[in-house]
């Protein structure tokens, strides 16, 4: 086995882990980091994205469009949820946790009753490629690049558009933004919809690789929270280093000692990070 294959295989595993952490976390990070709402229905937005992707792709829509539809649908559902429930619970942290958790449970059970315990999934597109002894899934090799693209798009959205400026102004000082004539409630609903859409996008991108069941969201919740807690409240500067660092620990530990060690490593790292950097890794990059 050549050195190149070994290095690539490690990079592939690292990228795989990085992409999963980043994509799971972004939606949660936007909603938590920018709005201070802990959204326990995050996993259900992921499920919504995945289900819509699978259903529309089966109905004949090309896969990229189906994924986009999945993400957009999740965003719409997010906007509706914000209007009906979350809007009334701003600045009531614990109430919003309980309410979104209830939404999560209700959604899972409703899906189980009406959509059945499972739907047939999609095949992973793009086939595989070989390198030395190993063969890799092309789609999975591309996922880290999708994750980076999404991060770049978010950067542009927050720093190069009017919405981004309004959103950052609202987050920094809502009262002042209101005085200056911004409709902060609309900014909040758009931000919540954005977070829901990002969660839906994670579901859409992973829909071809995992099992579509009503409880599938739960498998995204842990990596999402771990990444957001490690990264802190800053969306881009938090998620990127946190996912990179945690992905490195997880893939390294998994490669050396197996899957269990990878999971343990992930959680121990979080404990150390919040002990040493209570405000998250994103805080390191804040110029103060």
């Amino acid at each position: 086995m050549t050195l190149f294959t070994t290095i690539y295989s490690f990079l592939y595993q690292f990228g795989d882990s990085f992409a999963y952490l980043t994509l799971s976390a972004l939606g949660l990070a936007v909603i938590f980091g920018m709005m201070g709402v802990i959204n326990l229905a995050h996993g259900e937005f992921v499920m919504c994205g995945a289900y819509i992707t699978i259903l529309t792709a089966k109905a004949g829509l090309p896969l990229p469009l189906a994924m986009l539809t999945g993400a957009m649908t999740a965003a719409c559902v997010g906007a509706i949820l914000e209007y009906l429930i979350v809007r009334h619970l701003y600045n009531r942290l614990f109430d919003s946790i309980v309410a979104t958790w209830a939404v999560s449970l209700i959604t899972q059970q409703t899906m189980l009753i009406f959509a059945g315990p499972s739907i047939e999934g999609l095949s992973t597109p793009f086939g595989s490629f070989e390198l030395g002894d190993y063969s890799f899934s092309t789609y999975r090799a591309l996922l880290p690049f999708f994750a980076i693209t999404v991060l770049a798009a978010l950067y542009l959205l927050f720093f190069r558009t009017n919405y981004g400026i309004y959103a950052r102004a609202t987050i920094q000082n809502a009262q002042m933004a209101k005085c200056l004539g911004l409709r902060t409630s609309r900014i909040y609903s758009m931000t919540f919809a954005l977070g829901a859409g990002l969660a839906g996008l994670a579901g859409a991108l992973y829909a071809p690789t995992i099992t579509a069941v009503p409880t599938m969201g739960s498998s995204f919740i842990v990596p999402a929270f771990v990444t957001v807690v490690t990264g802190g409240a800053n969306v881009l500067l938090g998620v990127l280093p946190a996912a990179g660092f945690l992905g490195f620990i997880q893939s390294g530990m998994t490669a050396a000692f197996g899957q269990l060690a990878g999971q343990i490593g992930l959680l121990i790292t979080v404990i150390f990070v919040i002990r040493l950097l209570p405000k998250g890794m994103g805080h390191l990059f804040n110029r103060r």
């Binding site: 999934g121 992973t124 063969s135 789609y139 409880t215 197996g258 899957q259």
Partner: protein, 407 residues
């Protein structure tokens, strides 16, 4: 005078009614199954099969003229709920028998409660084997039935280098121990063994570990919806190795839910699956679909749950009572059999486990199933040989090949 007459009439009217009610006092069957949560997918057909068997028996006059009354609690794939509802059943509903549990973790969570209350309990599920418990009867298949058939067959066909990936809890650990034992007995080598936490659904590293050591086939003992993502991921990475399993296909019908060819070349040894084409099986499927037309799949555990109700009926009829000790003695007397979807199966008095017809199911490229081989009347031999004899000596333990009963 009038008053006395009225009371007399009232008594005359109510007496036959109350006698009829007493005569038809129902047999109470408590059921603890996961209708929701992570395991619901595999458990819902089990619940339906139990309901079907009860409906059929009640339509034909019940057990000794008494209808069966089902008391079902949804345990939500949660072990603490299992304990809570097991206590509630025993203390409040006082059932004549309790059925249920899917995962081995949930069974082990409630087994001590059953033992403490001396409650007759049927575990109607394939599992890792070894439970030698006076109060527990098992209608599912166990490793000595599933692996002693499957593993030697695969080693003969594909080669002797075996890699196991298993769910990291009692079921996976003990099943993997069985694979290890049978591979060694047949002159093969374990080239790798990996235990996967139940929360894992990303298998990139595992797939590479397998590619590195190049086994002849992979034994997959993966449990739950999260871990089942392995199949799509190994197909996407073009791992292309034959697979063997005791639980895939038969429980969560992965071959129906995943796009082909994710499960291509998977070999499983269930004691029943929907694809079995025999008169008994076809008749069972017809009745099942008549009651539950939208059932996605009639699984191995559905057949086990269905047979269990009939085994219990046969035992009560032999004991001529629903008294739990008498029913247990009847079962331990031997000769309690039923003709179910898989054919005739009997309860082994020594170990409280069932004989089974074992089907070798081979998943094709398009996910259709072929049966290259069928083993009839495979006995649950190991516990009996190892020294578990519940008919003669009470016991409340679970044994494994590495910790057998003390002689």
């Amino acid at each position: 005078m009038n008053k006395i007459r009225r009371i007399a009439i009232a008594c005359a009217l109510t007496l036959p009614v109350s006698l009829a009610v007493m005569a038809a006092d129902p047999v109470k069957l408590g059921l603890l199954e996961d209708q929701s949560g992570n395991f619901s997918l595999a458990v819902i057909p089990k619940i339906h099969a139990t309901e079907l068997a009860i409906e059929e028996i009640n339509a034909k006059g019940g057990i000794m003229g008494r209808p069966i009354k089902l008391i079902h609690y949804d345990t939500q794939s949660d072990n603490t709920k299992f304990q809570e509802f097991a206590r509630r059943l025993i203390q409040v509903d006082k059932p004549d028998v309790i059925f249920g549990a899917f995962s081995s973790a949930s069974r082990e969570a409630i087994r001590p409660i059953m033992d403490k209350a001396k409650q007759l309990y049927f575990y109607n599920n394939q599992y890792e084997g070894g439970v030698c418990d006076s109060n527990v009867f098992v209608t599912g298949a166990v490793p000595e039935q599933q692996f002693s058939t499957l593993v030697p067959w695969l080693m003969e066909k594909y080669g002797k280098r075996v890699y196991t990936i298993a769910a990291d809890y009692n079921f996976g650990q003990i099943s993997a121990e069985w694979v290890r034992k049978i591979v060694k007995e047949n002159g093969g080598t374990m080239v790798g063994e990996e235990f996967i936490p139940l929360s894992v659904n990303q298998f990139g590293q595992t797939i590479q570990n397998i590619q590195k050591v190049k086994p002849d086939f992979v034994m997959t003992l993966l449990v739950g919806n999260l871990q089942s993502a392995y199949f799509e991921q190994q197909a996407a990475a073009n791992l292309n190795l034959p697979m063997g399993s005791s639980i895939q296909v038969g429980q969560a019908y992965e071959h129906k839910r995943f796009k082909p060819p994710a499960l291509k070349n998977m070999y499983v040894t269930p004691n029943y699956i929907e694809e079995v084409d025999s008169p008994a099986s076809n008749d069972f499927k017809k009745r099942f679909r008549a009651k539950f037309p939208n059932e996605p799949y009639i699984s191995q555990e559905a057949a086990n749950a269905y047979d269990a109700v009939y085994i219990y009926k046969a035992a009560v009829e032999k004991a001529k009572s629903t008294d739990m000790v008498k029913v247990r003695k009847a079962l331990e007397g031997g000769g309690i059999c039923t003709d179910g979807p898989q054919g005739k199966v009997c309860m082994d008095p020594k170990s409280h486990h069932m004989s089974h017809t074992i089907y070798l199911a081979h998943v094709q490229d398009d996910h259709s199933i072929k049966f290259p081989k069928v083993w009839n009347d495979i006995q649950p031999y190991w516990l009996g040989q190892a020294g578990c004899n519940l008919a003669a000596k009470a016991d409340y333990s679970q044994y494994t090949p590495s910790s057998p009963p003390k002689k």
